[in-house]
């Protein structure tokens, strides 16, 4: 799994790619969320469009990010969840927690609403 971060319109976009399968890699994602809070960034968009495989470990880290950002008064939203990831979000009812977007511009604009 790889992580790429960029700022756009005041929102930190964290992009994951490859397989999100658990293990030490996931700590890097958790650290990225915590670093955002430490830098007073309260709007984070998690781009999952290039994730080829994900299981409950990935969901756990997304929930962890949501908790970290929420406690700091911020928000974590999801961009480009694949069909398989959306299926996992629905099965686990996490689809009721997260705002998901398929368009980056729309997702960025939503943080200002």
């Amino acid at each position: 799994m790889k992580i790429h971060e960029k700022m756009k319109d005041g929102v930190l976009i964290i992009s994951l790619s490859g397989k999100v399968i658990g293990g030490p890699d996931l700590m890097n994602v958790k650290t990225a969320f915590q670093n955002a809070v430490n830098q007073d960034i309260d709007s984070v968009l998690l781009d999952l469009g290039k994730v080829s495989w994900m299981d409950s470990s990935g969901l756990g880290i997304i929930v962890s990010g949501h908790t970290t950002l929420s406690r700091a008064g911020g928000a974590l939203k999801i961009l480009n969840a694949t069909k398989k990831i959306n299926e996992l979000l629905i099965i686990t009812k996490l689809s009721t927690i997260f705002e998901t977007f398929s368009d980056e511009t729309e997702a960025l604009a939503s943080f200002g609403e």
Binding site: G22, S56, L59, I91
Partner: protein
Amino acid sequence: MRGIQIQLPSEFAVLEPLQIFIEGLGAAAGVEEDELSSLSVSVIELVKNGMEHGNGSDPGKMVTISVDSFDSRIRFFIDDEGTWAPENAPGFRPGEGEELLSTRGRGVLIARNLARWVEYGLTPEGKTRVTLIWPLN
């Protein structure tokens, strides 16, 4: 395809090779390409549970996967070395309220929804065995 059995130590490093192996096995048995990742997610969720709950994440303890393919279904036995009680573990239903925001406990729920046929039982030696049956179209 009959009688394939693999043993894995209880450590995360084996999961990615296992995912590739399960999808290759599924493809050979006739699982549709679009369903291969759902199959591998289901099996790996149950393997991880065995590693963690059954074997206490002890790399010296093994998870054994036995696979048999029949005309219209594939059967996986996933055995660990423990005697845990899955009924008492989270993950048999979606979380509610604060439980919904737990960072853990979704593995069995996901496997049951993707595979639809997942049952817990015992090996002849009295250890935990999960049976997952995947239908072939």
